[in-house]
Each structure stands twice: as C-alpha cells, then as structure tokens.
C-alpha cells in the first residue's frame, strides 16, 4: 500500500542566512489523501506559496520530511525532483501557455516528456482532454484567439492530460472574472474527482472555497486551522 499523495511532517523552511534568516514555514505537517481537494488559504506572507513550491519539488527541501507521490524530497537530487514534477500537474495564476503553439499542441507538450507515446497518440489524448474541458472546437486555435477563461481551461487540460497523481494550483482564478473563475475551478474539481486525483489549491478567492473537501488556513508559517468537515478525506464521487 502506497501512502497518500502528499505527506508533510515537521517541514521548516527559511530564506536567507545568518541575521537575514527569515523562517517562512515552521514545523508544518499536512496530508492530502488520494482524490482529496484541499484549499490552502491565509494572508499574504503566511508561507502557503512556499509550501506549494516545496510540494511541487520546485525548491530543495531544508528540514522535515516531505513525501510526495511516494518520493521523499528531503535531500533529493535535482534530477529526482525534475522526474517527480512530470507526475504532478501545475496550474498557475496566469495560463502560461506557449503563444506559438495551438491549444492542442500546448496540451501535448505535457505528454512529450513521456517517451512511450507516439506523436499521433499525444495529439489524440490532447484532443480528448480539450473535449473534456469543453474546448472541442478550439483545439486548433492559438492562445491569443481564446478568452481568458478558455486559456485557463487549456491550462487545466495541460495539467491533467498526463494523468498526474497530484494537481498543484496557485490562485487559478486570480486573472478571471467570477463566472469563468468558478467554471474553471468546478471543471478542475469534477475532472480530478472522476480520476481520483488529489488537488492542493492555494487561493485568496472566497468564491471558490466551496469546491474544497477541506480548507487549511495558514498564518505566519504555521497551519492554524483545518475546516471541520474535511478531517476525513472525501472519497471520489
């Protein structure tokens, strides 16, 4: 039996050295179960984004144990971290799509890291994924020809197409209006649920808190509260 997608135990992280040393995470412990959707919230500077980058293997761990998708990140080499990232889907504040590729080619970029798939299969899967996010008619369009909500949906498709074990999202609705923001997050939730993918989502946006199974609040580098409903991970519907 493999553990949960995210298992953090006593994680402490600091920027700077000596007198400039500033702790942004203090003894954080957090678990995310398969299929669980956890929203990480809290004021600016509470350390939630740093936590997300550590879980995403984008930073080297300093103290404590971080097991992500079964991989221990404490003391992990750069190559191991790069390999782990291929099994995680990332969604950013802005879509960060490559402007010179079509929607379908952008999604297929996530599959080009896998040597076992052929070009035709990659495009096929990318097309299916775009259909799943409701963009079946837009696969050949460039990002500049899509609306903000559509672009973020392409980013969702890109994060999901490789069947990741974990999705990390940072303020995915920040650049969107209320309607398209809600639509993107609910789409993300439904797709993740249907595949049993865990989601760790950082947000300030109160309008999307309702998609979470559990809300974790951080302040000053510590987890200060977990919502009552979420202590037991919700199974996939």
């Amino acid at each position: 039996m493999i553990g949960d997608p995210v298992e953090l135990d006593g994680v402490t992280y600091a920027y700077g050295d000596g007198t400039l040393r500033r702790e942004v995470l203090r003894d954080v412990s957090l678990r995310v179960a398969p299929g669980e959707i956890v929203i990480l919230t809290g004021p600016s500077g509470s350390g939630k984004t740093t936590l997300l980058t550590l879980v995403g293997a984008l930073r080297a761990a300093q103290q404590g144990s971080l097991r992500v998708l079964g991989q221990e990140l404490a003391g992990a080499k750069e190559a191991a971290r790069v390999a782990l990232r291929r099994r995680i889907g990332f969604i950013f504040q802005s879509h960060n799509l490559l402007g010179f590729l079509t929607a379908r080619q952008n999604v297929a970029m996530a599959l080009e890291l896998d040597g076992d798939t052929a070009e035709a299969e990659r495009l096929e899967r990318a097309g299916e994924m775009l259909r799943a996010v409701g963009l079946a008619d837009q696969t050949g369009k460039m990002p500049s020809q899509l609306s903000g909500g559509q672009r973020q949906r392409v980013a969702v498709a890109r994060a999901l197409v490789n069947a990741p074990g974990l999705i990390l999202a940072d303020e995915p609705t920040a650049a969107l209006d209320r309607a398209s923001g809600g639509e993107v997050v609910r789409l993300l939730r439904d797709l993740a649920r249907s595949r049993g993918t865990a989601i760790l989502l950082v947000t300030h946006d109160p309008r999307i808190l309702d998609v979470a199974d559990r809300i974790v609040t951080m302040e000053d580098g510590r987890v200060v509260a977990g919502s009552a409903e979420g202590e037991a991970p919700a199974p996939a519907r």
Binding site: I2, P34, A83, L84, R85, R86, F92, Q93, L101, R195
Partner: protein, 411 residues
C-alpha cells in the same frame, strides 16, 4: 459528465509510475521542432536573425574567397612557367628572392634516365622605365635559354625568334598599367627601346604571365641578354633549373632518381610542388593570410552577436513559459537543446541564401578584378562548419539566460 467518465484512465493515477523519458534522438527532434515553431511564430525576428547569419556567411565567403584568390595570384609567375621538373635551392623562400644553385647541377640532371633536356633559369628584379612617363618601377626579369625549348611561357612561341637578338626582351602584356601602355605602343610603332636597369633594350613582343604579389610586371629575356642587364652575377650560379622529360618517362620515378644523385644544395620539385612552396610562403611568412582570417573572424563575431541577441531576447521574453516547462518536468538540458536547435536552424536558414549570394558576388568581383574567385565545395563546407560553430557559440551563451527561468518564482 459522460465525456468525463469515458476519460477515466485504466491505471489509477496515484500508482502511476514515473514516465520513461524519451531517448536522446527523440527528445532532440522534439526540441528542434519546438525551436522551429517558436522561430516561425515571430516572422520579423526570424527574418532579421536570418539576415544576420546570411551577412556573416557572406563576409566569411568573401574574405576566404579573396584570400584564396590572392594566394592563387601570388603563384602566377611560377604557374606560368611550364616545365616537367624544377631544380631549386632549398634555401629559396619565394621566387622573387631566389637563392642561386650551381649551374653544374643542371648539367648533372642530364645524366638521369628519363631527362630529355635541362636548362637554367635566371630570376632577378630590376627597374623598368615607363616609356610614356619616364618613371621607374620594379619589374621581374626572367632569363632562360629561349632556344632550348625546356621552359615554356604563355604567348612565348611567336617571340622566341626575336628574343635571340641582342638587347631585346618580351614584355608581359598582363603587367599592371603603371608600366605604361607598352602593348599599345608596340602595336603602333613596332619594336622600340625601353630602359631596364641601366641598359636600353628593345621590346620586341609580348607574353601573357600576369602580375603577382612579388612582382607588378614581368619581362622575359634570353640568357645572354639577362646577363647584360644584370651585370656582376657569376655565370656559374643560376636560380632555377628547368627539366623536360623524355616522352614516356615517369614523372615521380625521374624525380626520385634526380633526388638520389643531387647534393643537398638542390631540391627537385614538380610544378605543383613549386607552386605549393611559393604559396606557403605567402600564407605563412606574410600577414596576408592573417588579415583575411581576421576579417572572417570579424564576420563571425558580428553574426554571433546578432544570433545571440535574437536567442537571448527570445528567452527573455518567454521566461514565464520556459519556467512553466521546467515546472512540468522539462530539464534544463532539454531546454538548452531547444535554444541550440534554434541556433542550428538559423545557421542553415542563413547559410543557404548566403552561399547563393556569395556565388553571384564572386562572379561580379572576379569580372571586375581579374582575381580567380570561385565557389568551391570545400570552401562551402568550411563556411558551413564555421557558421554552425558561430551559431552554436551564440546558442550556448544564450542558454545561460535559461537559469533565470526559475519555476519556483512562478507562484
């Protein structure tokens, strides 16, 4: 939601193993394709980068072309002297400043099987008074036994008889114009006196040699007339020995036989070897080769800066996208291959039109300067290599910018 349930993967995501990365060849192909798609998307930038590479290509082709053409023309005099084998002092660096060899060596050569005839050749530089303006210029004198028929020069046959007369010479019609309109005057009034050194000689005809680095013009004389102009030379010393082989004699065998009997004060060379020797002097002992190499280098540096600028600004303006790719699991090495792929594409895109335009320009310049300029496959391959190296260097420099694409800053 039907579409969603259909998409449920066969393997549960949580247990999905890390994908095996593509092999080097496959991932390089993908990297180059990505590079091409990126370059293609910004037409103006692609056009200016291609123009930059093309310009560098053109500069290098021109410099290398001029260099080869000038070395080619440096050996004009030697190239014009037609004989099967030559005897020359190993101390001679270039034909314009020959070390003498004993005349006896030329006679010794006759002892070798396969040698039909051998004749001495005298080389010296003297001053030539322009018959129109009276100014003096240095001219190359070539003296040899015109009757022996061992050494041939282009255009010599019609004037061979006339050169036997005392105090006569044949003027090189392809000398630089500073020597005066000798050919025109000859056609107009027939043989007329011209001062060479301190002696008046009559010009009786023309030959076709061409100017070279060592000499702006040439005059051909018989052995006897040469001695009259260049007084104070010991008759026992000559500058070159020209050898004609008997019909059917093998060139290399005879050369080996001659080398075997000759003392170390004489070298035996074929005409090709003599040319190569002369050329090597100009390449190695003068700054000419360096000047053109330097010119090529400047072209490459300019091209490199342009390519670097384009690649660098491509990365700088797409830092977020590159960081996203890194977050997705693309390694720094793979992204470096994308940048180098772009560099390689630019090299090819600039090289092809650069080579075509250079071929055309070679024709134009050759018509204007009479320099032997032409496109050779060897030079094209060389330039392709240099342009690739230039773009690779620019690409490698630009990849340093990739370090700024830090996926941790994306959040």
């Amino acid at each position: 939601m039907n579409a969603l349930t259909e998409l449920r993967p066969a393997v549960t995501p949580a247990t999905r193993a890390a994908p095996s990365p593509p092999g080097l060849a496959a991932s390089t192909r993908l990297a180059v394709r990505l590079a091409w798609r990126q370059l293609r998307s910004e037409k103006a930038r692609l056009a200016s980068a291609t123009a930059g590479v093309m310009f560098a290509c053109l500069l290098v082709f021109m410099q290398l072309g001029f260099r080869a053409a000038l070395f080619e023309s440096a050996t004009t005099l030697i190239g014009a002297m037609k004989a099967d084998l030559f005897l020359m002092s190993p101390m001679t660096l270039a034909s314009f400043r020959p070390e003498p060899i004993p005349r006896a060596r030329v006679s010794q050569a006759l002892a070798v099987d396969g040698v039909a005839a051998a004749a001495p050749v005298y080389l010296a530089q003297s001053s030539f008074r322009n018959p129109a303006t009276g100014t003096r210029r240095t001219i190359q004198l070539i003296g040899f036994d015109v009757e022996a028929g061992v050494l041939d020069l282009p255009g010599l046959a019609p004037v061979r008889e006339a050169l036997k007369q005392p105090d006569t010479f044949a003027f090189d019609a392809r000398s630089r114009p500073e020597f005066g309109p000798v050919t025109a005057m000859l056609a107009e009034r027939g043989p007329f006196p011209v001062q060479i050194g301190n002696r008046d000689l009559r010009v009786v005809g023309t030959v076709e040699l061409g100017s070279s680095f060592g000499a702006d013009g040439n005059a051909v004389l018989s052995e006897v007339n040469f001695r009259r102009v260049v007084s104070g030379r010991r008759a026992a010393l000559v500058d070159l020995g020209a050898i004609r082989l008997a019909p059917g004699a093998d060139l290399l065998t005879t050369q080996a036989a001659l080398r075997a009997i000759m003392p170390p004060d004489v070298g035996v060379m074929t005409q090709a070897e003599l040319r190569a020797h002369e050329r090597r002097y100009w390449e190695e002992a003068t700054p000419i080769g360096f000047i053109f190499s330097f010119g090529s280098l400047m072209g490459l540096v300019v091209g490199m800066v342009i390519v670097y600028q384009v690649l660098f600004s491509d990365i700088a303006s797409h830092l977020k996208e590159y960081a996203t790719l890194k977050a997705m699991g693309y390694s720094n090495g793979h992204l470096s291959r994308v940048v180098l792929g772009a560099a390689g594409i630019l090299a090819l895109l600039g090289f092809v039109p650069g080579t075509i335009v250079s071929s055309i320009l070679y024709g134009v310049v050759a018509d204007a300067t009479f320099l032997p300029l032409n496109m050779t496959a060897e030079r094209a391959a060389w330039v392709l290599l240099l342009i690739f190296g230039m773009c690779a260097a620019a690409g490698l420099l630009a990849t340093r910018k990739l370090r700024d694409a830090n996926p941790a800053d994306m959040f």
